[in-house]
């Protein structure tokens, strides 16, 4: 498994090197290398064990995050990439960031590698103030939090071994910095800077246990859920400054991470949905948040109380706003073949989220059963109608056509 980890980290670098040698193949080399890296990380994720090589390691959460980042680079839009070589370097840096540490995440190593990822992602695309300014501020804030944690505990580890210790303020700074990173990454879907979305979500996930402690931090959860609602409602604004499904789902995931109750697994499902939404950029990708949203509703209802109610209500606003925005979207072009792996993973998330064991314990068995049966029923219905050669509806409209094309005009 150590070899797989080496290959997963090295693949984007090899792709970048190939791009330097043969510039006209740089973009294709970048995508192929990213897909290769995604495959290696996926193998590590399926294996599920902790693999350590030198100062890098892989755990299920690490592998899932890096796999998402690799898929994002594989699906980048041609129009957003000016220098494909740097996109490969950005992916390698993001992979190092999430894998930093021998057996647990090294906070400062992660932030340093993310700084490289921000710089190279900006070089790969067309540098935008709306990307690198929030990303730089987010990295600075997260670094301050990590240094404060180091000062207090003499450890760079994230999360600390003693998550119940009194380090909420420092960890909250890391989560806030990660939120800014995600906002920077969701500036545009399918852009090189999108690698910041899973990387930021990973940073927040690692710091969140120190914020959550025994029963969450109500003000932080409400503020983050409110930010998610604002991001979702902003989908109606023109011109758009964000890819709103990505930003809203990721911020809702952050809110779930620090909300009262057992909300970590739903938060990870929402973060995965945000990453895949960023990779697919289809109007309906907001639907990927359904499993995480449902699991979050169950977890909040089980906890009860005012804060879960407020967070749940804001999550409802997010769902409603994203659904309304998706209905108003115009049809988009057919996704490129590079999006196929992300599409498959999206379908898997939508139909069988309970099998995503890396997110932890989550009560989605009834969801899985229902989704499988619904899918089977829908497929059977559509196939039957196609085989019978019947249109779903409106049969009488064709059975009794107007006598002539001008009949309606004559009638009026």
């Amino acid at each position: 498994m150590g070899v797989l980890l080496d290959l997963a980290i090295a693949a984007p670098v090899i792709g970048a090197a190939a791009g330097v040698v043969v510039p006209e193949w740089a973009e294709r080399a970048m995508r192929l290398a990213a897909l290769g890296a995604a495959a290696f990380w996926f193998a590590l994720l399926v294996d599920g064990s902790v693999v350590s090589v030198s100062h890098l390691h892989s755990a299920p959460l690490v592998a899932a995050t890096a796999c998402g980042a690799a898929l994002l680079v594989a699906t980048v839009d041609d129009a957003t990439v000016a220098r494909p070589v740097w996109a490969g370097v950005a992916l390698a840096a993001a992979s190092v960031a999430v894998a930093a540490g021998r057996t647990a995440t090294d906070g400062m190593g992660a932030v340093a590698a993310l700084a490289v990822a921000v710089a190279t992602a900006s070089l790969a695309g067309r540098p935008s103030v709306r990307v690198w300014v929030p990303a730089a501020i987010g990295l600075a804030v997260a670094a301050v939090g990590i240094i404060a944690l180091r000062s207090a505990t003499n450890s760079w580890q994230l999360p600390l071994a003693d998550v119940a210790g009194s380090h909420r303020g420092d960890a909250l700074a890391v989560v806030a910095g990660a939120a800014l990173l995600v906002l920077a990454g969701s500036h545009r879907a399918r852009a090189p800077s999108a690698v910041l979305v899973p990387a930021g979500a990973f940073l927040a996930t690692q710091a969140a246990p120190m914020v959550h402690r025994a029963d969450g931090l109500a003000p932080a959860a409400i503020v983050l859920a409110g930010a998610a609602a604002v991001a979702a409602v902003g989908a109606w604004a023109r011109p758009r400054v964000l890819h709103h499904p990505t930003a809203a789902l990721a911020l809702l995931a952050f809110a779930a991470l620090v909300a009262p109750g057992a909300t970590r697994a739903p938060a990870l499902l929402l973060a995965a949905a945000a990453t895949l939404a960023c990779a697919l950029e289809l109007p309906a990708t907001a639907a990927l948040g359904v499993p995480g949203g449902g699991a979050l509703a169950v977890a909040l209802a089980a906890r009860g109380g005012a804060t879960p109610f407020v967070v749940g209500a804001l999550a409802g606003v997010v769902a409603l706003a994203l659904a309304a925005a998706a209905r108003g979207e115009r049809p988009v072009p057919r996704p490129a073949m590079w999006s196929a792996p992300a599409l498959v993973l999206g379908a898997w998330l939508l139909v069988a989220p309970g099998t995503w064991g890396w997110v932890g314990p989550v009560s989605l068995r009834s969801y899985d059963v229902g989704a499988a049966r619904a899918l089977a029923g829908a497929a059977l219905c559509i196939v039957t109608l196609v085989l019978l050669g019947r249109e779903p509806g409106g049969w009488y409209a064709r059975a009794f056509p107007p006598d002539s094309p001008g009949e309606d005009v004559v009638r009026h």
Partner: protein, 185 residues
Amino acid sequence: MLLEPLGPNVRTRAHRPLTTLQLGAAAGAAVMALASAGDVLLLGALLGVAAGDLEAGAASVLAGLVVLGRFGTTSLTALAGAQHVVGPAGTTGPVALAAASWCAAAALTLSTRAGFTMAALFGVAAADVVAGPAAQSAQSLAIRLAGSLVAVALAWFVGGWVPPRLARPAAVLAGTLGVLLVLAG
């Protein structure tokens, strides 16, 4: 003789063909509702897609939240099992919670659209929420059948005769009222 509607708001069984996505969602939701298998929030989302209407989807999900608040689970199987043991949700338990179940059923019934297939789908889903015990005895089966028939008939009436501009807000209102009753109960 050709007749035109008198105004743009006259619904009266106006035919709107279903898209392939709506048809698939309707079939999936029908399987879940008839078999009482799956997740009630997912059922709500599928009903919203089948209806092709945001308010209908919101009302259906609110009905699902009523179930979650009352029974502590989103499993349709658990909902049917609980009703088989303690009786239909609309006639057992505290008054506020029973009323919440009726509100959830009303939200689903009012979310339907024209067409018997859609009325049957939303009606069966509504019956699941308020009188849908697992059919493990003749009595439970009779209750479920009777509840389904009444709910389908009501949904058929609503789909054909109540204008959407009235039915949709009423559905959302009923769902919201149900959630509030569950919270109060």
